[in-house]
């Protein structure tokens, strides 16, 4: 047991004690609290909780490494995962809040007055959240495995137990406040190494301002090495792939059930708008820092590690080479490690850079704790989305409308435990890299919920047959494109599996519109409810007239 292990473990345990303490303190008592935290979370804290929910193992552990390896092309992730908040906050969140339901399937089921649509939406929610959570669990497995120097599979199992425990017993309220704490831990853990590296390399404590010149400098180094410049556009895929991936990530953001449900925890439409703004500010702090993290890591690897003698490589290389995520083979046998001989997996850049830059045991431990916070917080939110889809939308609204609150809560808890165990089982042998699995979840959300929700909120003529056909066609097209592109080598304009959402969304929009128009219009009541979403809570649309409620009447 070395010092690093003890320090990392102490920091991780201390942060866990904090999260679990908050979860127990807020132990949910009623179903309303369990799902949406009693709708009283102030926008600024809700913004932080959305941030923690949002920034998963893929953002924290994988993104900077992806940008480092892809250069400019990796920035599709930065713009895609932030720009989606405009679609969400302008087009969907306040209106869904006014409609006043607990979950996305509940909105779809009630707006379209169809149990079939409700069940399909619940099943799609489970598919998306489940896919996403596999990535989180294997991410936590990597961190725990590295920490204890045990097999990543064993690490995944430890992560499964932790997630099942606090998601099942805390519910959303526990998670909301736990996630505020997790946001603070993860953002500190991310910023400290970037700031230290910026000081080390440029002498400027503001990484966002200082890494610009490094980007230019690395372009020169790349030219000397005869490889494409770091900042050159479209070196790893076509321009259309960049645009399609960016669109998929944006629209997926606006269609992810576990993110949307966060906007049900605010009190009003106004609070939903402010929550969206605060959320992106908090998320932006990490996303603005990730390209800096990538640039500093690449610069250190290029100038300090590449060019050194193989026999004299620092100790950190050994541990990471052992994980199989780093290769330092001396290809040409000259005893010196060249840049081209250094092969680093994008999943370890964030974790390994503090060691490479020699930032000290405390910072390295903090980064491990931050990575765990990112993986656990997102997994927790995903588990709530899965359990509410099953316990609320399928079990209570369709199967057993007379179930007691106690019974429903117990079904919700059991579905979390079962879903976590099942996802953990798949995570032991994941079907792809973490970022790839996460990208599929976004493509599925883009191809299904994004069109269904946008048309459901803004187009009163969209009906149950339209939405059912749209959801199924969108799901089918997205899945087929992912498989055809990944395994069959089929692409259109160079768009690969991660950009599949574009085709799914186009097909779903078209299907929904065509089927809706060729079948009967929704009832007058539903059409009025949709028009009502244009106005703030105080204005009520009814029978073609608008009424102003001054709120003195308790409804």
């Amino acid at each position: 047991m070395d010092t690093q292990f003890l320090v990392s473990l102490t920091i991780i345990l201390a942060t866990f004690a904090l999260y679990i303490g908050i979860a127990i303190y807020n132990k949910a008592k009623a179903t309303s609290d369990f799902y949406v935290a009693g709708r009283g979370v102030p926008p600024i804290f809700n913004g932080m909780a959305i941030g923690a929910d949002w920034m998963s193992a893929a953002s924290f552990i994988g993104m900077a490494g992806t940008i480092m390896l892809l250069g400019y092309d990796g920035l599709a992730y930065i713009m895609g995962w932030t720009g989606g908040y405009l679609l969400l906050t302008f087009l969907l969140a306040p209106q869904l809040r006014k409609y006043g339901r607990y979950t996305v399937p509940e909105f779809i089921g009630d707006r379209f007055d169809s149990h079939t649509a409700r069940v399909i939406a619940a099943v799609i929610t489970i598919i998306i959240s489940f896919t996403y959570s596999i990535g989180q669990l294997s991410g936590s497995g990597v961190v725990i495995g590295r920490l204890f120097e045990i097999d990543a599979k064993l690490g995944t199992m430890i992560g499964v137990v932790l997630i099942a425990f606090y998601a099942a017993f805390g519910g959303m309220k526990g998670i909301t406040w736990t996630q505020v704490a997790q946001y603070i831990i993860l953002i500190i853990a991310y910023l400290i190494p970037v700031i230290f590296m910026s000081l080390q390399i440029t002498g400027n404590p503001m990484p966002w301002l200082s890494y610009g010149e490094l980007v230019g400098k690395m372009g020169e180094l790349d030219r000397e090495l005869g490889i494409s410049e770091y900042f050159a556009p479209f070196t790893n895929g076509t321009k259309w792939q960049f645009l399609a991936l960016m669109f998929t990530l944006m629209a997926g953001t606006a269609g992810l059930p576990h993110v949307i449900v966060r906007f049900y925890t605010v009190s009003t439409m106004k609070a939903a708008r402010w929550s969206g703004a605060w959320a992106l500010l908090f998320i932006g702090l990490l996303y603005l820092s990730a390209p800096a993290y990538a640039a500093f890591s690449r610069f250190i690897l290029m100038t300090k590690v590449a060019g050194s003698k193989i026999a004299e490589l620092p100790a950190w290389t050994k541990t990471w080479v052992d994980t199989g995520k780093l290769q330092v083979a001396d290809g040409n046998g000259d005893g010196i490690l060249q840049w081209s001989e250094l092969v680093i997996s994008n999943d370890i850049v964030v974790m390994a850079t503090p060691e490479i830059a020699n930032l000290g045991v405390f910072v390295i431990g903090l980064v491990a704790a931050g990575a765990m916070a990112a993986a656990l917080s997102t997994a927790g939110g995903l588990m709530i989305a899965i359990s509410s889809s099953f316990a609320h939308d399928i079990y209570y609204r369709v199967m057993k409308p007379n179930a007691t609150e106690k019974k429903r809560l117990s079904v919700a808890r059991w579905s979390i435990v079962i879903a976590t165990l099942f996802a953990g089982l798949i995570a032991l042998n994941p079907p792809g890299a973490i970022t790839q699995i996460v990208a599929w979840a976004f493509a599925l959300a883009t191809g299904t919920f994004f069109p269904a929700l946008v048309l459901g909120v803004w187009w009163k003529r969209s009906n149950s047959k339209g939405v059912i056909a749209g959801l199924l066609v969108g799901l089918g097209v997205t899945l087929m494109y992912i498989f055809a592109a990944k395994y069959g080598g089929f692409t259109i304009l160079g768009i690969i599996d991660t950009g599949a959402g574009v085709f799914g969304a186009a097909a779903a929009f078209l299907t929904n519109i065509i089927v809706s128009l060729s079948t009967e219009a929704p009832s007058q009541k539903i059409q009025e409810e949709v028009i009502d979403l244009r106005y703030p809570e105080q204005m009520v649309y009814k029978n073609g007239e608008v009424w102003m409620n001054d709120g003195t009447k308790q409804l």
Partner: protein, 119 residues
């Protein structure tokens, strides 16, 4: 249970008394148009700084800002900052529009908490 939701609407209209008054549909439509126009403007800006810049990435790469090639700066910082600013501008301007049309947030809260779909 779904009927409960309908009943709330009926209450507003039939048992309204002093608490509810009819307003001109024209006024409500103007509220909606004003909000929609702003949102369309935000989306045009959103599209230009993200999709627009990516589309013209090659010609833009010859300019530089703060040491970055311009297309890289926009992808890594410029677009994200624009998005954050747009969201806060929307939140603030929407509040102003609400105020202009006499919408009172505390009353929204009362109505909203009454409208929670209870089970």
């Amino acid at each position: 249970m779904i009927d409960h939701h309908l009943d709330m609407h009926r209450n507003i209209i039939f048992h309204g008394g002093v608490s509810v008054k009819k307003i001109d549909k024209e006024v409500a439509d103007r509220y909606f148009r004003e909000r929609t126009r702003n949102i369309i403007i935000y989306f045009i800006v959103w599209f230009l700084v993200s999709f627009g810049v990516v589309f013209f990435a090659e010609p833009l790469s010859q300019y530089s800002i703060n040491g970055f090639p311009l297309h890289y700066f926009m992808g890594a910082q410029g677009a994200v900052l624009t998005f954050i600013i747009l969201l806060f501008v929307n939140a603030k301007l929407s509040d102003n529009v609400d105020k202009k049309y006499g919408i009172d947030e505390s009353k929204n809260e009362q109505i909203s908490s009454g409208k929670v779909f209870e089970h």
